[in-house]
């Protein structure tokens, strides 16, 4: 069972604010998910190379390096939390953690 501290750490990494009752609820739900995934640890995978992708295709690429116009700036900024019409504006952040 995950501790409340572990749930708080995970919530912080996801930038989610959780209430005390949510923390307790997610502790049991996340634990169940992790326990389910942990069943894989019972298997012997010693000789199996790690799987980075389950897709049947590989090396799909854009050829020609051609430029295609993206979004008009007004559209790009439409979902911005705040904007001066030119840039996305956010609370100043000076350190990365």
């Amino acid at each position: 069972m995950l501790t409340v501290a572990e749930v708080e750490r995970i919530a912080w990494l996801a930038r989610l604010a959780l209430s005390e009752s949510e923390k307790a609820r997610y502790a049991s739900q996340l634990s169940a998910i992790l326990d389910y995934a942990a069943q894989l640890a019972e298997l012997d995978v010693e000789d199996i190379p790690p799987t980075a992708s389950v897709l049947a295709v590989h090396s799909v690429m854009r050829e020609g390096d051609e430029i295609v116009a993206g979004l008009p700036r007004a559209d790009a900024l439409r979902n911005a939390p705040d904007t001066d019409g030119v840039s996305f504006v956010v609370q100043a952040t000076f350190d990365d953690e």
Partner: protein
Amino acid sequence: MEYEVVIGMETHVELDTHSKMFCACSARFFGAEPNVNVCPVCLGMPGALPVINRRAVEFAMMVGLALNCQIARHTFWERKSYWYPDLPKGYQISQYQRPLAYDGWLDVDVRDLSTGNWSEESVRRRIRIRRAHLEEDTGKLTHVGDKSYVDYNRSGVPLLEIVTEPDIRSADEAYAYLSALQQLVRYLGVSTGDMEKGAMRCEPNMSLRPKGSAGFGVKVEIKNLNSLRAVRDAIAYEIRRQTALLERGEAVQQVTMGWDESRGVTVVQREKESAHDYRYFPEPDLPPLEIDDAWLEDVRRRVPELALARQDRYRRDFGLSAYDAVQLTSDRAIADWFEQVIAAAPAGDLRARAKAAANWIQTEVFRLMKANAIPNAEIASIKPQPQQLAELIGLVEQQVINLNTARQVFEEMFATGAAPRAIVEAKGLAQVSDVDALRQVVAEVIAAHPSQVQQYRSGQEKVFGFLVGQVMKATKGKGNAQVINRLLREALKP
């Protein structure tokens, strides 16, 4: 105690593709209005799917090959998660477990530049390359007051991170490594390598240890280095700072320092390096990348001979000085042009022709290009063709014209693009080598200057130059200097 510095270098090189790494937006961010080259992919909008830009992968492969790296035949992409407003998805698509290139090396010639003078002597050092992997650049933040303004034009521009082993042992070596790397990406044509504009950014990490010991000291990272000179100065400063600390018996703290260019000092930027938890995991939105033999060989053929190899060849085959070799290979376009001059030269003394071509390029060609504001990289655009310079050199060698006349002819070639022989004929510039005609002129000059002749005969050798000048003047500068010298000496014998 004597200390030794151990430096490893992390360098980010912006690849000069037209479009971005995972979308088709323009990758030209420098000088553009904010947020004009953006789309749902590079803005990290939900549901937008990235697609790999083939050219970016090929550019990265070229750098890997030029750095003598192994190229991963099976690689994949991973998400590096961290939270910062310049990273719209909340993660950067990068490579972690399987870098595209790994286990290589770059040889560099390290020169002592402390005197400010050129040194023919150098020490060749091999800097091992641990890895080079592809990723995407972030947006740009501008902090004003308590707000940050975010421009995502740079978000998603292809970026190659190149990491060395801790093989660098001095500020001069760091400088030599970085300038060699800059020259390498320019030779390959995969990046501008412009540090001032952020197209190449480097973060050295360094530590001091007692000379001769094997362990590593406390590691300090340096950031905010915007030029090659800043890299050398900042490392030299940090060596002095850390040596002073150790000599006082104090410990070096594990910190990130920032270089303050205006004051010429490093200042603490971040006190403690917390171990980041980037939670790398394979990028589910991108299929893995397989590089087969045919593709690898195709890319390998696009890697040209690099500067250091050319320098060695010029010195060995042409007998050029280190200085000439370095100058001529400073830019790939110059080196290619120089080699075309050599290739066009008729059979003969290869070394003499190479030396002549080297001299011409470094004097007249560079002088006229500079006067006409033509950058070295654009030498192919000047009017004289390399074959024509070879022809001009041939005319001097065959004594059809002398060197002074050749300089006039070259100016004409530079202005009009006319062939040297045509200019010589049209302007009647061929030098006079006719012995009888010159003997006549010599006799006239001797008759006209009895007192100088007297001085020469009484041992004043310097008067000889004056008399040569008079003969040359009488031939309007076209006299064959060697013939004139011989005839004058004969005529002046008492």
